[in-house]
Symmetry: D2
């Protein structure tokens, strides 16, 4: 692995560690929360950002500066694999015991999700075409960072595997993706400007993802206080405990 | 095959026959033209429109009305296969004996090519998302309609196979594509409005392709009269004959 | 006026004259057609292309190659003036005696209108940012070319002024617009490439407009034969004659 | 003023107050910083986000959900007025004593500026078309909130009026804009969903602006430590003091 890629890897790990250390979202889970509604809030936002990933990944090919056929093929291939993954998050929401007919009745994305999605579109459509690899770089590896916490959640919230397909399957799929991303990064990054663009996009998307998770922690707190509009279908913790026991 | 698909097929064949009957481009070849510069003009415009195909095919996934994951995957898959095909046209231009360093020095697209490209972007980005299949429908079958004429050209213009990769390889590749397109059309066309959208897009792209060919015939006539700017690199017929003999 | 602008003007006039000489649409009117349904077909397509003009005019500012603040302001100003003009065409349709509740019930644009609209979007979004002035150049002057024919139509079809607001008002408004366009063209065209881009866009939009008119003549012929779907609200010539007499 | 507008106003003021209370950027100025390089960093980012404002304001008219001609005209008018304002920020940078030939040599936008710009494009192109008024709502009033701090900066950094045209002129221009924005909001907001969309966009853009300012404070700290790449042209505090005295 190149020195630049190792640096990127180290920066990614440091950034995750720094975020996790101060994260309200991670703290809620690690403190032993049993309320499955936090998981529901995570799945709702996961649904909302995931459904843009195939689209903005393909958009990289519209960047007038792109001129690398191999990279274009990679983008379209990767886009193709991402199609419909949001439905796994929606599936998990139902299998976790929440009564939702169809994605169209879900609450809107949070402000934090909108900001994240906006930024991914922006780095996909403009600037250095290689930069979107900075998002893929950490996204495909993310499961190493979140799996321990997810397992705690699964245990405390009594989540069955059938309610965790999005995170479990992505952890498996993304082993291969991760190698592809590393190979592409090493192939397309030819100048310091390319590496800087990838690094900035990695930091940008990682930062906004952590804000997205903090937004979920805030929304959970509002939900508990009965102050989160449009989420009545999540029920109360008690009523839910009855359903799943 | 459904009745609707058969109708589409018949309309396509009738439209080709009608166009070929009055086409100056086809007439030039069938009358025995030996001047390879007509083929060069065809390859230049083929280069120009082909390089948009992967991009606009993928754009169909951005249509807010699309909601069929299988069709989205088809579009991205098909887009992925189209990446870089313009280079085959450029390769053939060089192998046909014309001195061009890189695609960046080619003359601009003709007005007819611009109009064709504009329309394909428009039907890819707006309206009924299934309509772009109307372009694929005839494009993948086109070689049946043009191969006899291309063979006449090849013979008279003494074109080697190595200078015909775009058209020969597409004829082969597109056997499979053609089946895929038919399957998709039968799958996604659920209403009369869907079939109408596919039909209109088929007629639109086919009409504009024929105008594109007629534009090439007009440009050839200008070239012969020494009145086609930016095409000096094509040389004169005589000088060229010496080069290839 | 610069020599280049005079050349553009001459080319425009010649192109109009050539089109009018072979136009089925103009012939129908000049031969004394009394059937107001031809005018209705014209207004329907006018509605459809006009409603894109403000949008694509403003889009010129998104062209990454634009770097002329004065020209950007011109585009936005001109876009602002075009907003809602399609409603004049719709208003005229109703005042000509046709029962249409709202624009949403109008038949779809013709294929020719779609091709025209696609091309205007294309030249607005890509290529040399000055080229869209080639559309404005002739569009603002068009009334000189079509007014005599419109007056014949008005007389034979017994159209009141209140049913001709789109064409009458545009003839008046566009006097000033025309001067603005000439001024902008002289200001922004600095290289031969700029003048060529304006000329090509002028020819492209003018050609597609004439095809749009020919499409209307074809549709009228289908209508008379009772073969034009989705236009039942136009009634028959006879029933209409009763309404307006 | 409607109750909803008053609520928006109160929320805006509260948000500003909360941000200012914890802002490193505001603290730097209020603590009496004399180093004009902080102002330079502000102007560089101001240049970068301002140059998108006319473009994304006009883009609102491309939202397929827009159907209010008055609002479309407002967007284009307002876009037209914003054209080129980034040059005032660039002008001020030069008049504050920094040697920059042209905007093309400025350092790239910060990550925070990119995130802000991405979000403004997103809310301009998608979702409820009225929501971009949430950005205009506070942006036009912002000078009330920042003027006291700017005046402290002006005094301590010895900034002449000729180096403050962006902020001074905007304060004046925006009196009228502010009234226009209020009028538009009252006119276009018809449902609670409209008011919510405006409110969310106000909070989103305001939050990201404060992060943009905090990014400038962080960059200033890096600059002082000699660790901010691509900003050598800002010189050192001392060398600069010599230049301006």
């Amino acid at each position: 692995m190149s020195e630049q890629l190792s640096q990127l890897q180290r920066l990614c790990t440091e950034t995750w560690d720094a975020f996790k250390a101060k994260s309200e979202f991670f703290k809620l889970v690690q403190d032993g929360l049993c309320d499955r509604r936090l998981y529901a809030l995570l799945l709702i936002q996961t649904y909302h950002y995931t459904r843009h990933n195939a689209i903005n990944q393909a958009m990289v090919c519209q960047n007038p500066k792109i001129n690398d056929f191999n990279y274009m093929k990679y983008c379209l291939d990767h886009a193709q694999e991402e199609v419909g993954h949001e439905m796994m998050a929606f599936h998990d929401l139902k299998h976790a015991g929440f009564a939702v007919e169809s994605p169209s009745v879900l609450p809107k994305p949070s402000l934090e999700t909108d900001i994240f999605v906006a930024y991914v579109y922006y780095i996909s459509q403009t600037g250095n075409p290689v930069q979107r690899l900075g998002y893929s770089f950490w996204a495909e590896d993310a499961y190493d960072h979140i799996m321990p916490t997810l397992q705690i959640a699964a245990q405390n919230m009594k989540l069955k595997k059938s309610a965790m397909t999005f995170f479990i399957d992505h952890a498996a799929i993304d082993q291969k993706h991760s190698e592809d991303v590393h190979k592409q990064i090493l192939r397309v990054c030819k100048t310091q400007d390319d590496w800087d663009a990838v690094k900035t996009a990695m930091l940008g998307t990682l930062t906004l993802t952590h804000r997205l998770l903090e937004g979920i922690a805030r929304d959970y707190s509002l939900l508990v206080q009965g102050k989160l509009p449009h989420h009545e279908f999540l029920g109360s913790e008690t009523s839910f405990a009855e359903v799943v026991s």
